[in-house]
Symmetry: C2
Subunit: 332 residues, 2 copies
DNA sequence: CTGTTAGCGCTTTCAT
DNA sequence: ATGAAAGCGCTAACAG
């Protein structure tokens, strides 16, 4: 691989000049510029970002930590972020923590060594340990969907409480009274907030909350399958279920179908996230759509802003979601 | 951020020594080591991978180019790769090309500037341009699922022809005779091969191929929906459909359901890939399971091998897939 | 309009 | 058992 020095020599100029023609950073006479450019093309010279980074203290690289990207929701979010980052010349290093604190810590360490310019952290399981780890990690950082106490970072979330409310409200509007809820891991604030919204809608409608109508699960299809099975086996099964993410809703519909319960005729189901496949499940899933793309854009923009200008006050943004009515819900 | 020099000064030793205690690369007296380690902890010193990379000509970073990760298949594959890479101390820079040659080229450029140690390239749309781009990209590289003529790279693929055969054979075994096929983009070899397998099974069974039973689509749910709709509207609709990926199969089942066609009672459907959601579609999808995790591992291992030892002969591996029978297929 | 030079943070050869 | 110093490939202040 050619170096700048070699290019300079062959062009009969100094490396300074080569650097300046590459970066357009000061005037260079037309013929020198031409000559240099020719040599660059000829030698297939490609500047080294690592040397540049060492000099400039900027890597144009962003670390992104997600619990795991097997949930299409994350995949879609990542896509939005990567897209936006690319547009402003940043790359993403992807880190799947698998909810494993050890792995997460190891990753964080590597990211710091690689001198990432910023970090995006998406809600995951283990709170406390992480917070202390991040506490003295002085890197621009935006946290998504879960606030880390003691961690200085911009914070972006969707309004999960309202989302849960909207989902439940929709079921209520359809005349349902026996509405169950399948929650995600209860230690995750987004998960908890959706349940809070569910509870609020119930209360507002003057319905009493039944403990056996709230079952906790884990945001996976398998978990949804199990939770729905349990709910449908109740002596008085619900006529509608709010599953707090799409994966669980889809797994749940599968369970209902196997139990001989028709959706939406005998059971209405609403999901959460609006992953791409939600439109094509059987039946197409009514769900709360999170503004994934806008969220990805916002996350990236906030992070880049902080990287660029630095010491602005911490930002906090909450995005709204909306109900997408499809065919998994019907009047009682 | 502390530097090695600062650590050395505060510990009253040379940077050489600090370097050696960090890397365990020569004997250091116990008390000096202790002192250095203490200062490192105290100053929260983290070595700079960028300086290291400049010196060593190794970034421990792998670039991964995918057409887009909205297909869960890719997400799952990425996960396998990232997992395996992490274990051997490598990070992944994720690049979504969106089948856009311009974006792909831009990314490749950036990756080269960042001096990635290796590149993983997963099948995408635009062939020719890419091949020439990659031709003089002298970086260890493994290509997945699509051979690039003129590009020196290890090549790893799944046996799509056999997969397509298996899927069709299964339908045949269930007594179906009117078997249609929904293919992916025909310029993608994996897509083409699956169709070839379909054709072979048909021929072997002595069935004539009907042109209107082969419809080309695009590997998305929406595409599958449209293709199935078209097929079911035929005067003589098929009794079974081989959809060449799961996304299309799921979209197709959705279309069938809306057309009032029951799966599997009136229509058998087999998919391809075995994405996580396939087990939980309604009905659960019979599909050809690609060994995604094993594939991710193999890809990573082959790439790392090439990075480490360099000049070994080009490798070529083909992995087998297997049919996972679930409930979207039934005897005629 | 162009070049000299120091230095970014590290590794490693060569001395001692 | 330890250190001095060169150098990885680039940028930019300073000088001309």
């Amino acid at each position: 691989m050619a170096t700048m020095k070699q290019v300079a020599e062959r062009a009969g100029v100094s490396t300074t000049t080569v650097s300046h023609v590459i970066n357009n950073t000061r005037v260079v006479s037309e013929d020198v510029r031409k000559r240099v450019l020719a040599i660059i093309a000829e030698t297939r010279y490609i500047p080294s970002a690592v040397a540049r980074s060492l000099k400039n203290d900027r890597t144009h690289t962003i670390g992104m930590m997600v619990p795991n990207n097997s949930n299409p929701y994350f995949a879609e979010l990542i896509q939005g972020i990567e897209d936006a980052a690319f547009k402003v010349g940043y790359n993403i290093i992807l880190c799947n923590a698998y909810d494993d604190p050890k792995k997460q810590a190891a990753y964080l360490r590597v990211l710091m060594e690689k001198r990432i310019d910023g970090l995006i952290l998406v809600a995951s399981g283990s709170d406390d340990e992480l917070a202390s780890l991040l506490g003295d990690l002085h890197v621009p950082m935006v946290v998504v969907d879960r606030e880390l106490p003691g961690v200085e970072a911009d914070f972006i979330e969707a309004d999960h409480e309202t989302g849960g409310y909207l989902a439940t409200r929709h079921l209520l509007d359809m005349g349902h009274r026996d509405i169950a809820c399948v929650s995600g891991p209860i230690n995750l604030p987004p998960s908890r907030d959706r349940v809070v919204g569910y509870l609020r809608a119930l209360k507002e409608a003057g319905l009493k909350f039944r403990l056996d109508y709230l079952v906790r699960s884990d945001f996976t299809s398998a978990g949804g399958f199990a939770a729905f099975s349990q709910l449908l086996a109740l002596k008085k099964p619900p006529t509608a279920i709010f599953a707090s993410n799409d994966l669980m809703a889809i797994g749940g519909i599968c369970a209902a179908s196997q139990a001989g319960v028709a959706v939406p005729r005998q059971l209405s189901v609403v999901g959460y996230d609006d992953i791409a496949l939600a439109s094509y499940s059987t039946p197409p899933l009514t769900t709360v759509a999170q503004p994934k793309y806008r969220m990805g854009q916002l996350i990236t923009q906030v992070l880049i802003d902080r990287i660029m200008v630095g010491d602005v006050p911490l930002r906090r943004e909450m995005l709204q979601s909306e109900l997408k009515q499809r065919q998994s819900t019907a009047p009682l």
